[in-house]
Every structure is written in C-alpha cells, then in structure tokens.
Amino acid sequence: MDLIIFMILVGVGFATGTIIERKHFQSIRLRERRHLNLVTTSTKITDPEKNISDAILVSGSVVVSVDYFKRVLAALINITGGRVAPYETLLDRGRREAILRMKESAHAWGAHSIVNMRVQTSTIGNQNGKNSLGMVEVIAYGTAVK
C-alpha cells in the first residue's frame, strides 16, 4: 500500500514537475531577453559615458522547491555520491528568477544599469536531518542607477 502511494507520488511529481519546470524556463528566457538591455554587473564600476542622477537598492527574491520525483532521485544520488543533477535545474531556475525580479523592479524604477549585484542562497524549512525538503530561497540585490 505504501509502495503504491510512493509510486503515485513519484509519477505525479515527475509529470507536474517537468511541466512546471518547462513553463518556468520558457518564461525566464522570454523575460531575460526583454531585460537584456539593463546592464547588470557584479563590479562597482558604472558606465562613465552615462550621467548618473540617482541610485537605489533593488532586490528580488524567490522561494522554489523540487517535486517529489527529484527529491527521491536526490536521496538516491546522496547514497552513491556525485553530481546532484536534479537540484541543479532548481537552483538555476531560482537564481535567474530572483535576478529577473530584481531587474524588473529596477526597470520599473527607470534604471539603466545595476551595479555591485550580489546573490545569496539559503535553505529554508526543516533543515536538520532526513526531512530536508529541498526548499531554496534565493535573493539577488544590487544598486540600480539612472
């Protein structure tokens, strides 16, 4: 009985997880292209050719989680060791989404570039032990200038 529930969870997790991930990536690519002109760097150098009249701190954050299938797969990889591929997409998605949200708020403010951008990741939820849920919070922040 437990095995059946487990199989169903894995199956449902795989199906929904794949669909959601594909859609998310599509939207990320689209929005990344739209905000390509907003120059973002991790340096403190601003473009000397542009006049800077104002600066503001912008940030964007997102909390993402993996589906059941990936969680089980990650647990299996934890035994054998090696690259935990199922979580890599999760974090890639999370980071790009956070940076995009930061860019969007900078864009709304009217910025032409973001400097000294920083990215931070933290695991939230039950972190001690086996029930680690694979929930990740990503925050991106930087100084928007115009």
């Binding site: 760097t41 934890n78 035994i79 890639d92």
Partner: protein, 104 residues
C-alpha cells in the same frame, strides 16, 4: 581566462563589459564518506572527504562560469564571488558569479 575578485584586472584596462556570468554545481559524497564524516565529528579535525568535495565543486562551478564567459567572448571575469549552501544533507551547492569583461 583571468579571474579576479576585485573591480579590475591590475595592469590591464577593461575595454568591454558583457554583464553577469555564473556557474553552479551540486555534489554529494557517497554514503561511506558521510558515515566516516559522522565518526570524525566525534574526534574533531579536518573532514578530508568534505574538503575534497567542496574543492571539486568549487572548481566545477568556476569552470562552468568560465564556459559562460567564453560563450559571450570575454577573456576575463572580474569581481568573482562564491556562495555555498547546503541544499540537502550531505550535498553541497557551490555558486560562482562575476562580471565577464574583455581586457587588453
């Protein structure tokens, strides 16, 4: 590929900015290592297995970042930052990001 964690490459001038590049990787050690690390926690000292794990992952993340930088045609990455987080038990996530530039 020149990697620095300051705003410039000393002795060279930056001619072109390409924006943000990043590389990430998540690695886990096999269960034997995890158990050994558990024992080691009793006596203290360096956890060789995990040092190795993080070192490998850091290299991997860096090389991915460099690959991204190459894809846009940069020859240096400046102001590189690392961030490490524990995604799941026994698995570490390494993220490296910086600004891809062309120097001469």
């Amino acid at each position: 590929m020149i990697i620095t964690n300051i705003d410039s490459v000393p002795g060279k001038t930056i001619t072109e900015h390409f924006g943000l590049v990043s590389g990430n990787t998540i690695r886990a050690k096999h269960i034997g290592r995890d158990i050994m690390a558990g024992f080691k926690n009793i006596f203290g000292g360096e956890l060789k297995g995990y040092t190795e794990l993080l070192e490998e992952s850091r290299q991997e993340a860096l090389s991915r970042m460099i690959a991204q930088a190459q894809s846009v045609g940069a020859n240096a990455v400046i102001n590189v930052r690392f961030s490490t987080s524990a995604i799941a038990q026994g698995a570490a996530e390494l993220y490296a990001y910086g600004t891809a530039v062309k120097v001469s």
